[in-house]
């Protein structure tokens, strides 16, 4: 079919294709490019005002500076927020694995037909949004005296990590051949022993996906953290940066954009490696 096209039309097709790709890349990365430029510009270069047509804001008109990074790491609580986020993330990952691994295995192997229906039900709870639940949760959190404590997040974050991770792990366990456990069980292992010794070691890629997925969801979460954490010391990074670095009308755009950039890029890189598996989780059944 391609051979039927004349050379001119083929070149035109290539040009259109490249242009399309470049357009979408520009759209996608523009805010990140803008973060980079802002993070390293001197204030005199940054706050010129867009009415000045002669001053090109895309370029460094003055030499770049590390001042904004110095402010971010030296004079703000950014590192504390990162630590808080990491603490919540690791505890939530632990809870998620404890709940989702047995549940995922059970749904894949031990529950038969009703398990299949149940698994769809569990997946559906992932769709119950935080914006519906934060009001009742704020009641529960104050009843349990957990307001303004990171433990409130530890308690609540598994509500969105467990359903999706159970679903992902179920798919993963289903893809393993049954002989893995069965041969171990013929050799005298109990089912639990077979899971521990044979299935889990084979499931490391699946478990890793779940760890990364749960961790990124925790870092990205905004609504609950905004609702339950009020003191600046205890904020997570997704709330601390937009809420506490912005004071009144005084913006430290350089430091702000540096914080956004430094937090986003590592997540994006790691996420990219695991993306195909997440997408497989969303599209189970819809691709044949």
């Amino acid at each position: 079919m391609a051979a039927a096209l004349s050379p001119v039309r083929r070149t035109a097709a290539v040009v259109v294709h490249r242009a399309t790709i470049l357009f979408f890349i520009a759209f996608a990365i523009f805010p990140f490019y803008w973060m980079v430029v802002t993070s390293f510009k001197q204030n005199a270069d940054l706050y010129v005002g867009a009415t000045n047509v002669a001053h090109n804001p895309f370029l460094f008109n003055l030499p770049p500076t590390l001042d904004h990074l110095r402010i971010l790491f030296g004079q703000t609580l950014y590192l504390t927020w990162l630590r808080n986020t990491l603490f919540v993330g690791l505890v939530v990952v632990g809870i998620t694995l404890l709940l989702a691994v047995p549940a995922g295995y059970s749904l894949a192997r031990l529950t038969g037909r009703w398990g299949e229906r149940l698994s769809i039900g569990i997946f559906m709870t992932y769709l119950v949004p935080s914006t519906l639940l934060f009001i009742p949760f704020s009641r529960l959190v104050s009843l349990m005296q957990l307001q303004n404590s990171l433990w409130s997040l530890v308690l609540i974050y598994p509500t969105f990590t467990v359903p999706f991770c159970t679903w992902l792990l179920m798919g993963f366990f289903k893809s393993l051949p049954r002989e893995v456990e069965e041969s171990a069980m013929v050799d005298g292992c109990s089912r639990v022993g077979a899971i521990w010794r044979m299935v889990l070691p084979l499931s490391v890629p699946g478990l890793l996906t779940v760890v990364i997925f749960a961790l990124t969801l925790v870092i990205q979460e905004f609504v609950y953290s905004l609702t339950f954490i009020s003191s600046v010391q205890r904020m997570t990074v997704s709330v601390g940066v937009p809420v506490a670095l912005v004071r009144g009308d005084v913006y430290y755009w350089g430091s702000l954009m540096a914080a956004c950039l430094i937090t986003s890029i590592p997540i994006a890189v790691v996420y990219n490696f695991f993306l195909d598996r997440f997408i497989a989780g969303f599209t189970v059944g819809a691709i044949k």
Binding site: M1, I21, F24, T111, F134, V186, A286
Partner: protein, 311 residues
Amino acid sequence: MTSTTAVSVAPTLHAGETIRRSDRRLGIVMLAPALLYIALLVAVPFLLALFLSLTNSSAGSLEFSFVGLQNFENVIASPVFRRALRNTFVFTFVSQLAVIVLGNVLARALMKSFHGKAIARFLILLPWAAPISLATLGWLWIFDSTFSVINWLLKVAGWLGPGQWYYWLGDPTLGMVAVIMIHVWRMLPFSTVILLAGLTSIPNEVREASAIDGAGLFSRIFRIEIPMMKPILTVAVLFGVVFTFTDMSVVYLLTRGGPYNSTHVLASLAFQEGVLGGDVGRGAAVAIFLVPVLVVLAIFMLRTSRRAEVV
């Protein structure tokens, strides 16, 4: 231990009964903690949200009394709420329409092999992976009233004449455009990857056969590929709608619902009333309006998954 060996030697059981009783018990034990957690922390709070919407509870105290449907009546009578309800639908519909059209174009472009494809894919996916609150902050700076780089570009291009200026977040219409733009930017990678998975799942023979039969590009896309991709298109649309419809971060951080409460969505209004304003009952009532749409989406999703399983 002996029973396990005995059963595994026994002849195959009838289909659907292949699970041994001891395994079934173990299955329940392994499933119970997750189910219990979900019941306690998703199902109960969900019911609590319904319950609170019928009360006059406020953030300061744990006392309350029933007020029946009073909250709902008050909410529906409020012009701010009606505007938020309309905005939620407009934002979701417009952004998802754009995402599906652009996502199809982009997925098709990414189907071809070309130099630097892996890097292109990574860059295009960035918006979906970045934390939404931080990404929105980036956009807040792009739309800044004094330093907006978009305005600078429009000035240079001559679109904005002398004395003309766009206050992106200070004008209801421009504010809505900004919110929609961010939603498109964020959801496009997600839909593209899903659509790409759908496109790659169409066997090449189908394309070749349609080419031999003389089908042009457009009839191939609209008569063959789109019908074949219907389940996956549905998945992309449904998840996109769920994520956009229930989001409050973009509006909260970008405009705080302003100017004059003109860009609120249900979720951000529920936050303003229920958390910032302390009127828990009213906030819950606003959030409850998300439920009917979510139920419809869930039903759609179940039907899609069932149909796909049959096929």
